[in-house]
């Protein structure tokens, strides 16, 4: 069963002079096990939208259900929320316990899982994010590097075994090495746990490589939701709403503008390589 968002409207400061519609008439489904990318420029409503997915924000109108649980209902929300693991921007600022293991186990313990099992799940989660439990379990979170802290924060969510993992710019502020480590972690989590991933990111090249579907927000409205292929194929439209497109998409537009015989909508490198080889007559068998 999926997460279903229906006719969602959300208004900040309702009834005051500062009323501001943050989300307008959003309809969106997060399917079991899929990788959904969520893009839009700063202020487009991405973070506001994902906070509805685990009931942190309640729609002004419309409905959100997680595997059938109505997130507007207090009782059902508690059950629905357990299925949705949320990793905010700069999650490393939320580490606070004395040891890494305690921090990772915090959420699990809150779910009422007995101590011994909580610690076992913490170890398991640490291993999954690439922090060897033997080495990291008893460290203070503050001894970790920036990238390690972020993975520890991710482990805290993983330990709760969410069915849906929601990541708000998980690579923000990391250097290229740290970014690659986080991406590799997310890929392996999906492979081992089979959880669905909703990822907000400005890194179009990274999304183009792994998202099955991409949703585009613009000024609080859903501009489109489609396969990554179809979304990045519309690079002109994405550029017009202030978004970056993968470099290969830009190349595709440039080449077509110069009259080269390249199909539109190419966004990933392997596809571009094939198209160019074909163009130079080295092609079809490759």
């Amino acid at each position: 069963m999926p997460i279903v968002v229906e006719k969602l409207n959300y208004t900040y400061m309702q009834g005051s002079a500062l009323t501001d519609a943050a989300l307008k008439d959003i309809g969106l489904t997060v399917r079991d096990g899929e990788f959904l990318g969520l893009i839009g420029h700063t202020g487009s409503g991405k973070s506001t939208l994902v906070q509805h997915l685990n009931g942190l924000l309640q729609p002004t109108s419309g409905r959100v259900t997680v595997d059938g649980y109505d997130m507007a209902d207090k009782k059902q929300r508690r059950l629905g929320r357990r299925l949705v693991g949320m990793v905010f921007q700069y999650p490393e600022y939320q580490l606070f316990e004395e040891t890494v293991a305690k921090d990772v186990a915090f959420g699990v313990r809150n779910m009422g899982v007995p101590e011994a099992e909580a610690m076992a799940r913490a170890d398991e989660a640490l291993a999954l994010v690439g922090l060897e439990p033997g080495r990291f379990r008893d460290k203070s979170p503050f001894e970790l590097s920036g990238g390690e802290k972020r993975r520890a924060a991710l482990a805290g969510i993983i330990a709760m075994k969410p069915k849906y993992l929601v990541l708000d710019e998980p690579m923000a502020g990391l250097d290229p090495l740290g970014r690659r480590a986080i991406l590799a972690t997310i890929d392996s989590l999906r492979a081992t746990l089979g959880c669905a991933v909703v990822m907000i990111s400005h890194a179009m090249d990274d999304l183009a490589d792994r998202a099955e579907r991409v949703a585009v927000l613009n000024e609080g409205s859903l501009l489109m939701v489609d396969s990554a292929e179809n979304v990045f194929a519309q690079s002109e439209l994405l550029v017009s709403v202030g978004l970056d497109v993968p470099q290969v998409s830009r190349l595709c537009m440039e080449l077509r503008a110069r009259g080269a015989d390249i199909p539109s909508g190419i966004y990933d490198r392997a596809m571009m390589e094939k198209a160019l080889l074909r163009l130079f007559g080295k092609g079809a068998e490759a």
């Binding site: 250097d175 290229p176 470099q247 080889l277």
Partner: protein, 276 residues
Amino acid sequence: MIELQNVTYRYEDGASPALEDVALSIERGEFLAVVGHNGSGKSTLAKHLNALLLPSGGKVLVDGMDTADPKLTLAIRQKVGMVFQNPDNQLVTTVVEEDVAFGPENLGVPPQEIRQRVDAALASVGMTKYATGAPHMLSGGQKQRIAIAGMLAMEPEVLVLDEATAMLDPRGRREIIETVSRLHREKGITVVMITQYMEEALAASRIAVMSEGKLLMAGPPREVFRQKDELRRHRLDVPAMKELADALRENGVDLGEDILTVEDMAQAVCRSLSKS
């Protein structure tokens, strides 16, 4: 313009030096990008350029002035302006133009001239229409442009950007790169840009690559990226278009060695097609 002579720097508690024997000279009017991972020493290097940090060994000369001489610190900081990473903690007043005027006021510039400098500085970063607005209402990219304008109003000869784009979204990053490139081109300001984004470094005329406190290499972008394997060994990124060009070459389509940007690639493809 700036000479780093075998500079070594050790933080008080640091076991290994943050900078080790770095020799680099920055020419007047050049646009230099300094790239490297976190911990490579690139920001430590930047802070040596205007005497925020002083070398533990070696020497830094700004226009011949030794940064270790405290009498020269003020003169050096007037020549070398610095913009930092976080857009939210560099602005100090509640009105944009007052913020830009803050530096020259402290330098004792006469009021009439301050007015001119502020107007000119705001115009050169494209922020004239926000002059009387409040800094906290601006986007990250706009705040960084105001920080740059504040530096320009002090009429520095060198502008150092210490990861000034790291906390911005893609649009903000583009604004800053475009602004800085234009200032370099039109006003001949010397620019030193510290960044972790290889794609940004391509805007520069020369790239210095830092790794583990040492200067790994320095040269025009094309030369630097020819040493792809060396960069890889230090786990640094190589531009996507360079990767594509190399993959094509392996399959028998050679478009040339030096393709780094989308523009390079598009040109090379079209040139090569019109020949065949």
